[in-house]
Amino acid sequence: MVGYTIRRIIQSIIVLLGVLVIMFILQSLLPNPARAIVGVHASPAVVHAFIVQNYLNKPFYFQLWHYLYEVIWQHTLGTSYKLNESVGSILKRDAPKSFLLVGVALLISIVVAIPIGIFQAVRRNKASDQAVTGLSFVLYAMPTFFLGELLILLFSEYFHLLPAEAPQGSTVGQILAQPTGLILPIATLALVNFAGYSRFMRSSAIESLAQDFIRTARAKGLSERVVLFKHMLRNSLIPIVTLIGLTLPAVLTAGLITEFLFNFPGIGSDYITALTSQDYPTALGITLIVAVFTVLGNLLADIAYAALDPRVRY
């Protein structure tokens, strides 16, 4: 297990290096951000100074090398062009909030999707199954922002029940202090994820239910409840765990949209702001941390997989 973990970590580092290479290649294709950063009024000298100062006149591999140097020796992720802050401190401030949002939504969607998926599998092709299937299909077909807007329209605009904006604040504590504001963004994100997970849980449960050992369990005289929750559940969770790892990027993307929509002060909003203001170091830092979490999420998923499935031993 330890050996496996070490190897996976090395592998993850290689993947992250790959992410950096891709991002720097992409960045080198982007228009030079200097003018956009320093503004309409700035003189060419200022523009030039900015370029030199940020190595924008250097080839991408030099920039990459410099960035690695910053990351490894200086423990920073560069400085934002626009925000007068190190990218590290932006991430330290905003990433926890985003992971709170995404994490809670993910948790809720999983916790709801699992029993519902099982329920559907048990009542397969009955009206209730088809109703949930229909709902999850529609949710799944909805662009995140559209769903979010509809929720805003319904709950803040029409019923005045919930705030249309996420809580504001720089710390997780401040965010949590205004829980009502979290409901809509979390609901949006959770609904979007729920759709996929419940569908998958349903198939996974159906598949598990068709396994021979379920028949064995029934032949023992166990009640359906025990059959489902002791014998079937863990087996059908195994593929779900991997799925969650794999869908992390998609979940984070939905998180980005949700943050933007609800004015949530997290890295998703930061990312869009950074990109539209060509604040590349910030955008890069956020991409990197998201990649780190994706890779980490997959690692955790694999470990959870091993924990759930005794057949897997690394």
């Binding site: 003018r35 950063i37 320093v38 003189s43 060419p44 200022v46 609800f262 004015n263 702001t273 539209t276």
Partner: protein, 593 residues
């Protein structure tokens, strides 16, 4: 559009007389993604923004000269730290006398504080956003403080006094001597101490380094012993790195208007719709917000929940640029008739009423009509090239163009009066690209309308949209051989704001080779007219000559200039004025019963 908006804005300050209550907290909505993040007034270009300067620093650190009187674009003598400057010696010597202001640490605002600024600026000018080689402070040969309240500048040549006051002296912010150090552990120096670090270039460099580093630590803004020394009406109480700033009145503020509010809060937002969602939800989370242009139809709703709708007009004008060095169309852009044709297709009145619901000012000239200002002359008030597809068509056909497959195509090249003009080759069809900044429905609508009108005139315009920054990056001055010179027209939909260069003389805009001349417009007449606005001893005459030329010559394509924002001000809030240079003065605000 223009007249109505002017009257609208003027009504603000004279709001109905109701009982004024002391105290209360006002919440001000920051623009999307525009939250303050740099506190040191000697601001580098990356942070040189309205949000940092006019809406943040100025609340705490007053500039030597304050601009904007109510909603009029003028020097505000009463809010300035100094009396009106006196020019002498053929406009080569400037003498400034300071009024009696105090820093919050009890020290007086003296000429030494101005010298401190100048020392820092001289030593670190390249780090300063507003620095243009040859201009301030290069054009100041020497500066001195004969006594505690007087500063004297010797200039390298004669300058137009108005220009120099509005554009150069306007940049000065006296700094407290308490900042004249290179580490936090050092005690704050005494203003009378000799040999303070700023007096040597090396010292000034390290003081700047120190202060700039301090300004980089956003989390300490509210607690730093440096930044807490203020001479403005407000003091920072708390500041989150996300951009939420809480101000409380500076108890020892010595200026004329003292705050009535007990707290003033600036709130960050990711998008205009996010801001508007919050505002609509009610509960007074925002006292002073804004209405996104797309939601103009919501005017009556916001009024019903207790907001006044007031446009905030800043001094500026709007346009988009053509690339005079474009290898294909550059020669055509250089033809006045063609620019006239393009301008004839801009239907400013219709755009303003339909798309901007009246919240805009037409632009015909680099010297704006609104807000009220002493600069615009009669020539800038009428549009010489009003909307007319036929006029545009005629201009083209009378210069050798013919419709070929619905597209105007040059049929008779040459330099004669009825030819297409120098460098325009036969068969050149008018298939132009126009890129505009997205995120703003009205701009999209305008560009759509423009492309449709152009089509009727036989000009095929392909639209594309991109982020503001992409547009502005694409619109870089270039020479025709450069690969990046392929762009034809770029509209970043922001035009030009006269701030902090408060004088609308366009020095950086249209001068050949000047920094913000994106389309590489080049005309020797224009160059000399611009120069005159900087140096003439008869400023207004020079400015009039300049604007008359620019109105006719169309160095850019003018488009309606939307109001900076459509403010939504709680009807409980009184005393609001909307400064044309966008300076925020919550000290004049108060709550009413």
């Amino acid at each position: 559009g223009s007249s109505s908006s002017t009257t609208k804005s003027s009504s603000t300050s004279t709001s109905t007389a109701t009982t004024k209550v002391k105290g209360g907290t006002a919440y001000f909505a920051e623009g999307p993604g525009a939250s303050p993040n740099y506190i040191f007034p000697l601001t580098p270009s990356t942070n040189f923004s309205v949000d940092n300067l006019a809406r943040f620093q100025i609340l705490m650190y007053r500039p030597l000269y304050f601009f904007g009187v109510g909603n009029k674009a003028e020097l505000n003598t009463s809010l300035s730290l100094a009396n009106t400057p006196v020019y002498s010696n053929n406009n080569k010597t400037v003498t400034i006398t300071l009024k009696k202001y105090k820093w919050s640490n009890g020290e007086s605002v003296t000429s030494r504080d101005v010298i401190f600024w100048m020392n820092l600026l001289k030593a670190n000018k390249s780090a300063w956003a507003a620095y243009v080689p040859g201009a301030f402070p290069d054009n100041v040969v020497s500066y001195s403080a004969p006594n505690a309240s007087t500063v004297v500048f010797q200039l390298n040549k004669s300058y137009s006094p108005t220009w120099f006051t509005y554009n150069e002296l306007s940049q000065i912010t006296p700094l407290p001597i308490a900042w004249d150090r290179t580490s936090l552990s050092q005690p704050a120096p005494s203003p009378t101490a000799a040999n303070l670090p700023d007096t040597t270039t090396a010292g000034a460099v390290s003081v700047y380094k120190f202060l700039n580093a301090q300004a980089g630590d956003l989390s300490t803004y509210a607690t730093s012993p440096i930044w807490s020394v203020v001479d403005g009406p407000w003091k920072l109480k708390s500041f989150t790195t996300a951009g939420k700033a809480v101000f409380v009145p500076n108890a020892s503020y010595s200026g004329p208007v003292k705050p009535s509010l007990s707290q003033f809060v600036e709130l960050p937002f990711t998008s205009t719709s996010a801001e508007f969602n919050v505002l609509r939800a009610g509960n007074n989370a925002i006292t002073y917000g804004y209405l996104p242009v797309t939601d103009l139809s919501q005017k009556s709703y916001v009024e019903s929940i207790g907001y006044k709708v007031n446009p905030w007009i800043d001094l500026g004008f709007d346009y988009w640029v053509e690339n005079y060095n474009n290898p294909t169309y550059g020669p055509l852009f250089k033809q006045l008739y063609f620019r006239q044709a393009l301008q004839h297709l801009v239907d400013q009145p219709a755009w303003i009423t339909s798309f901007l619901k009246g919240y805009a000012v037409p632009s015909y000239s680099p010297v704006p009509l609104a807000p009220a200002n002493p600069f615009a002359d009669a020539n800038s008030k009428t549009n010489p090239y009003p909307y007319s597809v036929t006029a545009a068509k005629n201009l083209l056909t009378s210069h050798g163009f013919k419709l070929v497959n619905g597209v105007m195509t040059c049929e008779s090249p040459g330099t004669g009066a009825t030819n297409c003009g120098a460098g325009v080759s036969r068969g050149l069809a008018l298939n132009l690209n126009l890129q505009y900044a997205n995120g703003n429905t009205s701009v999209t609508q305008e560009m759509d309308a423009y492309a449709s009108a152009a089509k009727q005139a036989g000009i095929n315009i392909t639209l594309s949209s991109a982020s503001f920054n992409t547009v502005i990056t694409n619109a870089a001055p270039c020479t025709s051989s450069q690969a990046s010179c392929k762009w034809e027209m770029e509209n970043w939909a922001g035009g030009w704001e006269y701030s902090p260069d408060n004088y609308p003389s366009g020095g950086e805009l249209f001068g050949a080779g000047s920094g913000s001349n994106f389309g590489s417009y080049s005309s020797s007449t224009a160059n000399s007219l611009i120069a005159a606005t900087h140096t003439s001893s008869n400023p207004q005459a020079a400015l009039n000559a300049y604007q008359n030329y620019m109105v006719k010559q169309l160095p850019v394509i003018y488009q309606p200039s939307p109001d900076n924002s459509i403010s939504l001000i709680s009807s409980k809030l009184g005393g609001v004025t909307q400064n044309p240079y966008l300076n925020l003065t919550p000290e004049t605000w108060y709550f009413t019963k």
